[in-house]
């Protein structure tokens, strides 16, 4: 690629922004006794380094599961172990058993930040660069602009590098991205291997698993069930089984081990939701206390059914007509369905939806930018808790400016650009006057942005009334939920009406 120096500049800019966000640790002292995610990661390094594998997921005197017990799959544990070896080499005090609880120092902070940056640099950023280089039918300049916008996405930067957060979301998202790339470029085995690694890193990646499954199944069907398709199916199954076995090998020795790990990964004992999250259950519970009305097992069944119903059409379509473009859009709609209807969803899970949306940024820049802004806004209460007001506003504006100048998004709001042409045509068969869809969407965008800005200002400057201490968080999550529902409908429309679009165009031209 001839403009590689520009791409380098873009990557370096992304790294600079990440590092400056990570400098926001001015207040110094943490908040004992539980501290935060930072302490959790340090604790996992301590556990994995000092205890044998069999004790990692079990409650014992050395490993108190109440104090940040390990609740991610084995690959996270192995990664923590690797970091622990480096920590041991630099300063053993950081991971000494028991005595290093709540350890905080400048050097340690630098070490932890560095591990996140290195993981990002090795896994996530190359995937993004490769994805942008492989985009078809757009100029080099647009590819670089695309890379810039994706690397500047505020949500991932703030969660991974913010105040006391050391979440390695970039690793799991990066691995998933490698999976998407592999599968889209017909390197199915490598892609599925990468995705299995992603699932084994953070179990939330299961949100993406159905589209992968349907896409690969559709490919097998296309190649014919009796010939190459069957061979491919067997190979894929073999790859998945092999990668899972490799990761879980130490835990397959005893049945109790594997079960305990699963129990830590999927805490079904916890309720339908915790805290304020921008999904259906939390928003509905403002009016109707679902947690109290329905018994526990009914809650699980209801959420399972609703999730399945909302993602079924897109997945069936993908199985019958597999295409890389359809795959990406289905990833978005599936992940969004899971986020809105699933069990025990955390606010950070919106990142699982943001990643596929970043992938379709070049195709529908206007809606993607809008979605990514809303996704960052939905995490506002979490960000404010960590004193990240300035970085979040600054990175959001930088992202918005980058998208606005790279894609001229305000000019791309016609039906054609929004990929709604075939949908509108179908509707116009019944309602001839249905031409106002783009205008509605533009108005909705303006309303949405104004609401978000106002809510941000209110949350920051005013104190909530005494009787309703959570007023602003609830408002933020409800507004975000409404936005997300709209996007769910929109992306499903695109998926369902998509290939007709392509077919019509081919007929006309």
């Amino acid at each position: 690629m001839e403009k590689w120096y520009l791409m380098t500049a873009v990557v370096l800019l992304g790294l600079t922004v990440r590092w400056t966000v990570s400098l926001n640790s001015y207040s110094g002292a943490g908040k004992p006794p539980m501290f935060g995610d930072y302490e959790a990661q340090r604790h996992w390094q301590e556990i994995t380094f000092n205890l044998p594998i069999k004790q990692w997921y079990f409650n014992s005197s050395d490993n108190n599961l109440q104090y940040w017990g390990l609740d991610y799959p084995p690959l996270t544990a192995y990664h923590s172990l690797l970091c622990a070896y480096v920590a041991q080499f630099i300063n053993p005090d950081w991971i000494a058993l028991h005595s290093s609880r709540g350890y905080e120092s400048q050097a340690h902070k630098l070490f932890m930040r560095a591990t996140v940056l290195i993981a990002d640099l090795l896994i996530y950023i190359p995937a993004v660069v490769l994805h942008c280089c492989c985009l078809k039918e757009i100029s080099t300049k647009k590819k670089i602009a695309n890379a810039l916008c994706i690397l500047l996405y505020p949500g991932l930067i703030l969660i991974d590098y913010g105040h006391f957060q050391i979440m390695y979301n970039s690793v799991s998202l990066g691995l998933a991205l490698w999976g998407v790339l592999g599968v889209s470029c017909d390197w199915d085995l490598l892609g599925s291997l990468a995705f299995c690694l992603a699932v084994n890193y953070k179990q939330m990646e299961l949100y993406h698993s159905l589209p992968f499954f349907c896409f690969l199944l559709g490919k097998c069907f296309k190649k014919g069930l009796k010939g190459k398709g069957f061979v491919l199916f067997v190979k894929l199954a073999g790859t998945v089984v092999a990668s899972f076995t490799l990761c879980w090998l130490p835990f397959f020795t005893e049945r109790a081990q594997a079960l305990q790990v699963l129990r830590r990964l999927f805490p079904v004992d916890r309720g339908l939701f915790e805290d304020k999250v921008a999904n259906i259950w939390c928003s509905v519970s403002v009016f109707l206390k679902i947690k109290d009305i329905l018994p526990h097992h009914v809650q699980i069944i209801v959420s399972f059914c609703l999730t399945l119903l909302s993602l079924l059409p897109a997945c069936v379509k993908l199985t019958l007509q597999p295409s890389p473009k359809g795959f990406r859009f289905t990833l978005v709609s599936c992940a969004l369905s899971f986020f809105l209807f699933s069990f025990q969803v955390h606010e950070k899970s919106i990142l699982l939806v943001s990643l596929p949306v970043c992938l379709v940024l070049s195709e529908i820049p206007f809606m993607s930018t809008w979605f990514l802004l809303v996704s960052t806004f939905s995490m506002l209460p979490l960000l404010l808790k960590d004193d990240l007001l300035m970085p979040s506003v600054v990175t959001t504006m930088a992202f918005f400016i980058a998208c606005a100048t790279s894609f001229s998004i305000f000019e791309k709001t016609s039906e054609e650009e929004l990929r709604l042409k075939s949908f509108s045509v179908s509707v116009r068969k019944h309602l001839p006057r249905f031409t106002f869809l783009p205008r509605i969407i533009q108005h909705l965008f303006i309303i949405s942005v104004i609401t978000m800005v106002l809510l941000t200002l209110m949350t920051v400057t005013l104190d909530p009334p005494q009787k309703l201490p959570d007023l602003f968080s609830v408002l933020v999550s409800s507004v975000s939920c409404l936005n997300f529902l709209f996007f769910l409908v929109y992306f499903n429309i695109i998926v369902m009406w998509d290939s007709k679009d392509g077919r019509n165009q081919k007929k006309i031209h």
Binding site: L23, Y26, L110, M390, A402, T405, S408
Partner: protein, 473 residues
């Protein structure tokens, strides 16, 4: 809650501007982008210069003018010309809404979060003048070939090189100083000279001199250029001087401008009979040959050579250890000292060396004027010579050469190569400014890599541009 109001206000202004960039103006996008990066740099390490400026806010706010250059409660006394003192005075009127305590002269090393926010925002805000100056400079640069690619247009490259100059970002927004708007004034005066608005250029430079007298480094270039190309209104066909075209009117108007500006600045202190005190503060020759952290100039090499020779001399028993003075220049303290082996250097010697160094370029400017471009070259050479041979030079002074060089580098491929070397080494030499803070080293390295890659991009583009031009043109 007040902090949040201020943050919201500032950010809302920027949000409004960012909505305007939806229209696709790349210049505004670049300017806003770098401003946002500056906001992200607010919580980073800051040096003692932060306390210096807080102290000056306190002095100018709390004390009458007659005390400004006498006040010495803090070790960071006022040592910039009067216009800068007035600037701090104006800032202090805004500062009192942030935190009244910072304006107390006795609150040494006071750095509450509001103080930090105010100071950082004041630097970011005054950089607006720098942005305007860059905009004016871009008008003076025109591409010879019509470039369709935005990233190959000289205007774009120049804007990136100036607005995103990492040396300036590090010195102003991490280390903490107010160089942004000062360089804005300088670039604006250069732009005015390019646009043949000589009087404005001269006025702006005179004002700049009274803001920060370090710009005396480049005053000879201005003086000779204005005398030769403005006061002599025409040249003979072969380019040499036409003595009868001298215009007294122009000379007098220039002199009057400079005189009026100086009167405005130094007048009050002349009336108070404080001029000697002011000058002793402005030109502290008691400070040593080299600043605490050495500027990479000739005297640094000289000192190192002296040290090496003295070590060799001691080993070979040529020198008597008892005769070697205690204060050695490598200990990083600002003191006066004597050299041991090589002859000692006095301020007069450095002045003579500087003058000899700038003589060739001055001669060229007088005898073979090449218009504004020749002036710019002479300016850069004056800055570099003064940096090389000056007395008590700060390493930040390299920016005086790098920023104008950016203007030249978008013109010719040869200049671009030189600029690449100059900017890379210059920015690298700013490294010691950040050495106290561990995490910031990485930030600097990243930033330096970024600036290097940008400069490289520029060089590549210019090479492309000029390789396309037919031979002989």
């Amino acid at each position: 809650m007040r902090i949040k109001w201020v943050e919201c206000a500032a950010l809302s202004v920027m949000a409004a501007l960012s909505v305007m960039t939806g229209g696709g103006s790349w210049f505004l996008a670049l300017a806003l982008g770098v401003t946002l990066l500056k906001c992200l740099l607010i919580p980073t390490y800051h040096s003692t210069d932060f306390e210096v400026h807080r102290n000056w806010l306190a002095i100018t706010h709390s004390l009458p003018i007659s005390q400004w250059y006498y006040e010495a409660t803090s070790e960071w006394t006022l040592d910039y010309p009067p216009f800068f003192a007035w600037f701090e005075y104006a800032l202090s009127h805004v500062a009192k809404y942030f935190d009244q305590e910072m304006l107390n002269v006795h609150n040494l090393n006071y750095s509450s979060s509001r103080t930090l926010l105010f100071q950082r925002f004041s630097v970011i805000f005054t950089d607006a003048l720098f942005v305007y100056a860059v905009h004016e400079c871009c008008k003076c640069v025109d591409g010879k070939k019509a470039c369709k690619e935005l990233t190959e247009k000289p205007k774009f490259i120049l804007s990136v090189l100036l607005l995103w100059n990492f040396g300036l970002l590090i010195v102003d927004h991490i280390h903490f100083q107010y160089n942004g708007f000062l360089f804005g004034l300088m670039l604006l005066s250069i732009a005015r000279l390019f646009q043949k608005r000589h009087m404005e250029g001269a006025f702006l430079f005179a004002v700049l001199l009274h803001f920060k007298h370090i710009y005396l480094y480049v005053a000879p270039a201005y003086g000779i250029y204005l005398l030769r190309s403005y006061c002599f209104t025409a040249n003979k066909p072969d380019g040499s001087i036409r003595w009868n075209s001298f215009s007294f009117v122009r000379l007098i108007s220039l002199g009057l401008t400079v005189f009026l500006v100086s009167a405005l600045s130094l007048g009050p202190f002349l009336a108070l009979n404080q001029l000697p005190q002011v000058f002793s503060r402005l030109f502290p020759f008691k400070r040593g040959l080299c600043h605490a952290y050495w500027a990479p100039n000739f005297w640094a090499v000289y000192n190192a050579l002296d040290k090496v020779l003295s070590v060799i001399g001691l080993q070979l028993k040529l020198l008597d250890p008892k005769k070697i003075p205690k204060a050695s220049m490598t200990s990083g303290l600002v003191q006066q000292f004597q050299h041991t082996v090589l002859p000692s250097v006095t301020p007069l010697v450095t002045l003579i060396c500087t003058l000899i160094a700038i003589l060739p370029s001055i001669f060229c400017l007088w005898f073979k004027p090449q218009g504004p471009r020749g002036f710019l070259r002479c300016l850069i050479l004056c800055a570099l010579s003064s940096f090389m041979f000056g007395w008590h030079v700060h390493e930040k002074a390299i920016l005086l050469a790098i920023l104008p060089m950016s203007l030249l580098s978008v013109g010719k491929a040869g200049d671009a190569s030189i600029f690449l070397i100059l900017s890379t080494t210059g920015h690298y030499s700013l490294f010691p400014l950040l050495f106290t803070a561990p995490g910031k080293k990485n930030l600097f390295l990243i930033g330096w890599k970024l600036s290097t890659s940008l400069a490289w991009a520029l060089w590549k583009s210019s090479v492309n541009l000029y390789s396309l031009s037919p031979p002989g043109s």
